[in-house]
């Protein structure tokens, strides 16, 4: 009972935040609603006892990525950005994308009925507080089967760091000239 209540609470806030994120015209407002959605999604991870995902969601997404969005929004001129992008003229494209996504959703729901669990909603599953901790299993997989991709991630991070600094330096040089 309490599990369901908490889930619907988090899910409701996440959906509401997502709708407000894409419907607000002020990008700063959208960033704050995005934070709300990310926090609520983190709550669902917490409820599922997915500690690693919860920590990642809070540290990386609700913390770092949102701060990055806000700093970029402060960096660019929001008035200019809104003047440049006019969603009104792209209504037909947006409608086509929405129809395609809706069709995809219907297909997924239809195909999911053929899964062994009988659909997306698996009845009679184990309570989440009886599930084994997933952090050790995830770490075993990461440092076992996926060790090479993990090590390559460090190269990717290195390249991203260097790229960010070089781009920022170029921008600054451009500003001065």
């Amino acid at each position: 009972m309490l599990d369901s209540l908490l889930f619907y609470c988090f899910a409701g806030v996440a959906v509401l935040g997502a709708v407000l994120t894409i419907s607000r015209r002020n990008p700063m407002h959208a960033a704050f609603f995005l934070t709300t959605t990310l926090l609520a999604t983190g709550g669902i991870f917490l409820e599922l006892r997915a500690g690693v995902l919860f920590r990642t969601q809070i540290i990386l997404y609700a913390g770092g990525v949102t701060a990055l969005f806000v700093s970029v929004l402060l960096l660019v001129r929001s008035g200019d950005a809104v003047r440049q992008v006019r969603f009104g003229v792209k209504k037909q494209m947006a409608t086509a994308v929405a129809v395609a996504l809706g069709f995809e959703l219907i297909v997924v729901l239809f195909l999911a009925r053929r899964l062994p669990g009988g659909g997306l909603l698996v009845r009679g599953s184990a309570p989440v507080d009886q599930l084994p901790p997933n952090a050790v299993a995830m770490a075993t997989s990461l440092f076992g089967d996926y060790l090479l991709p993990f090590e390559m991630t460090s190269v990717l991070l290195l390249v991203a760091m260097v790229g960010a600094v070089v781009m920022a330096k170029n921008r600054k040089r451009h500003e001065r000239s």
């Binding site: 990008p27 926090l39 990386l60 701060a67 050790v136 440092f143 993990f150 991630t153 960010a164 600054k172």
Partner: protein, 122 residues
């Protein structure tokens, strides 16, 4: 049952409070429409036609980006630490080398950034 959920309930209350606060602040303190310069915050408002504005420093953007990188590293480090105890029986060298290669490369990046002066706040 409730005791097992107390942490989640507290977090749910925090999320609800944050959502309510966000709704209140966005309604109360700033304009919805960016096209209306009167209601915008000073840092949000676009300059008038023909009027120049000082371009902002990219330093805060760089620092936040570095925070994101540190967040990614800490996520991997936490996973590594969870498995570290189980590696004591004969795989200690592997345990250290797997993380040291990762952390070493990233650390090199931090040193390079420091040498470039990207972390010096003006």
């Amino acid at each position: 049952m409730f005791r097992a959920h107390i942490a989640i309930v507290i977090y749910a209350l925090f999320v609800l409070f944050f959502a309510a606060l966000t709704l209140f602040i966005t309604k109360r303190f700033a304009s919805e429409s960016p096209g209306d310069p009167a209601g915008l915050l000073p840092e949000e408002a676009a300059p008038a036609e023909g009027e120049g504005r000082d371009l902002r420093s990219t330093r805060p953007y760089l620092l936040v980006l570095l925070i994101v990188f540190v967040g990614v590293e800490s996520t991997f480090l936490i996973l590594w630490a969870r498995l570290y105890r189980t590696w004591f029986d004969g795989h200690l060298a592997f345990a250290f080398s797997s993380m040291f290669v990762f952390a070493g490369l990233v650390f090199l990046g931090h040193i390079w950034i420091h040498k470039k002066g990207a972390l010096h706040w003006e």
